[in-house]
Symmetry: C2
Subunit: 412 residues, 2 copies
């Protein structure tokens, strides 16, 4: 089965919001064995929507649209669908009763706009939306399907997972199987990795392919397999994965859903050691990433975000001599921050960061992008200096990855 | 001038990475007065790329592709472009010299893969890429243009900004003018806002339109104008903006590039007051957002991420009686955390958060999603309780917005 994902809304085309809905749907469909051939975003106009629906049905068995079903004036997806299917609309009492119940629960009344939302193109199969007022809508045209959902991400996800996958998608035949595996690496670039594993990739059987996905400080290697025999694909992917991991060794920190932060937490959990962070220019971003993982609390104890120099002295016991002689952005300061964090937070191991994230604040000796990191325990501390860009957010993200990798390397 | 943005790569279609490149390009083109009619993502196959190029040129004057120009084996954009333009390829000595120079700077040697990268379709105009090895490529076909750039975001952005906009795009005629304005609100839903401003929107002149972009705890209102007379458009948008802001009052926290975190920092900077955060379940996310803004350091002093109870006692002076009698997730604990943070961090105003972010850790009295917040100074503290979902990341994001809004409301 082939699918097209269609996002409707000017706000996507003018770059005001990032289309994470299509990404999420792409992954869900991939996992269900559906091949997404196209993702497309078009404007809030009837003509563009109808053209995109026509093109989508030429190449795929399923079109999924998101956006344009809300209660406000700019929402015209439903009108376009009715025109595309050449059907009239009707008022759906049950959908309206659902909206009224939802609002009653909040102690509020429905408005005219909510009523308008309950006019539906005829032939619709209404898919329940427990998270909001606009239901999902499923249509059949010939042997093809059109699923239309609201654009609010948590509503769309709820409908897709609860009202669509099981009763509909899984009851349809999805054709070829797909198997994929992502290997996460940190510390070396795409070209280096490609050369290391080239002999393995050159021996890949025909149904396997390889992609490289670089980001700040990390590269993901994706092995993709497509074919009829799912068990055979799984076995090929598994053996390719083992070979690649052996060649790349410590550069690999995980597979598939693993993240660098979860790899760090798991490693320290296994070593029965606690960690904390002392952050200046990353402003809490290392702590934020570690605590984004459920169950972080048995390893991660806490963080001191010491943005001002006086807090570096008061909470992390960085001496005023060090700050005066070497400055807040120095090897001496980050080493003292690690020692201070271990004491103040009562942890076994800490990582510390201090730098000039930019875009302002540089000096000739310490230009913007100068960042010092330290990581260690009460006895031994390793340090690292980075010379990064003038881009504040990129510097923070890159530094955070390096800090997490220093924690990981501590246990190697 | 109309444009199509084309992203090439299986990794987009299977949902492995979010396509932020198209979003960024959409905004840049919008600001240059170019109308993006379609964004599209297709697979790494010659056939799909060629079809997308054909369709793109039917509807637009400019196609911009990202992805598929790197040095590794999965990159086939260039082959597809040569086939689409019906031209041969040649080896570009100058491009290779650039790659060699870049690698020499890092003290490294080029590889065969880098050499392959320097084969170019004939007729190309090479656009310099200071951030990486794959240059941008510009082609002309009839009176239409094709710009192809690598997919690594900071490389793509550098090429677009430095090698494309000024020498090429701005020298072409871009047709109609566009003006837009975004009004940021926090605290009420889309439907409520729509009803409040409906009389204003109904009086909009024909060239103006309105969109509502809801996210967790916030709604953005976008006024969009398109027409020939840029000055007249600007004046219409300005007067609509003033009317809407007057009706919505304190719900509005900013315009355009403003963020809730920058609004908070500006308000406290004007009031000459310093702030800090004491975070448990948000794990540093409030601090992270505040410090993402350049120049935060004159207002934001620091944060205590007290993930463990013992740190709440040691660093924030939450008494063991409070923790024993009321628990870590309670009005009493967050109030004590604010007082502790004001003292420990030496700030005028603090916000504190403690909750059960999930997915585990709930009890019958305090289910997952129970979150307490407090905000205030040494004399007066306001508190708030949230009953959220079981989704950890969504809970953290929503709570962070509420915490920032409590800081904002402190000054009202």
């Amino acid at each position: 089965m082939k699918a097209t994902i269609l996002t409707i809304g000017d706000e996507i085309l003018i770059g005001q919001i990032v289309d994470t809905n299509s990404t999420w749907l792409g992954e869900q469909l991939f996992l269900e064995g559906v091949q997404v051939t196209t993702m497309k975003a078009v404007a809030d106009t009837t003509e563009d929507i109808i053209n995109a629906l026509k093109q989508g049905f030429e190449k795929s068995d399923l079109i999924i649209t998101t956006g344009g079903l809300g209660p406000t004036k700019d929402d015209i997806t439903k009108k376009a669908i009715a025109e595309f299917l050449e059907v009239d609309s009707y008022f759906d009492e049950e959908a309206f009763a659902h909206v009224k119940r939802m609002f009653a629960n909040f102690g509020r009344e429905t408005t005219e706009a909510h009523k308008e939302q309950c006019y539906m193109p005829k032939g619709v199969e209404i898919l329940k939306n427990k998270m909001g007022t606009a239901p999902g809508m499923l249509f059949k045209k010939g042997d093809k399907y059109l699923l239309s959902m609201p654009g609010v991400p948590y509503e769309m996800k709820w409908i897709f997972k609860n009202s669509f996958i099981e009763p509909y998608l899984r009851s349809w035949d999805t054709g070829l199987s797909q198997v994929n595996k992502t290997i996460h690496t940190v510390g070396r670039g795409e070209t280096y990795l490609e050369e290391q594993i080239r002999p393995i990739v050159q021996r890949f059987p025909e149904e396997l392919s390889m992609s490289y996905l670089p980001s700040l400080g990390r590269v993901r290697l994706r092995i993709n397999a497509r074919g009829e025999d799912k068990l055979a694909l799984e076995s090929s992917v598994q053996s390719a994965t083992s070979e690649i991991k052996e060649v790349l060794g410590n550069l690999v920190f995980g597979e598939d859903k693993d993240t660098l932060e979860s790899a760090v937490l798991n490693a320290f959990r296994n070593a029965n050691l606690t960690i904390g962070t002392a952050e200046s220019c990353t402003g809490g971003n290392i702590a934020r990433l570690l605590t984004s993982i459920p169950g972080a609390s048995d390893v991660f104890q806490g963080s001191i975000v010491a943005y001002s120099n006086s807090l570096k002295e008061d909470l992390l016991a960085v001496s005023s001599e060090i700050l005066k002689n070497h400055g807040a952005v120095s090897e001496e300061t980050v080493s003292a921050m690690v020692q201070g964090a271990i004491k103040t937070l009562g942890v076994d191991v800490a990582v510390a960061v201090s730098g000039i994230a930019g875009p302002g604040g540089g000096t000739p000796e310490k230009p913007v992008g100068t960042i010092w990191l330290a990581c260690g325990n009460a006895q031994e501390i390793r340090t690292k200096k980075l010379n990064l860009t003038k881009n504040r957010l990129k510097n923070i993200e890159y530094t955070t990855n390096i800090a997490l990798n220093m924690l990981r390397q501590y246990l190697m």
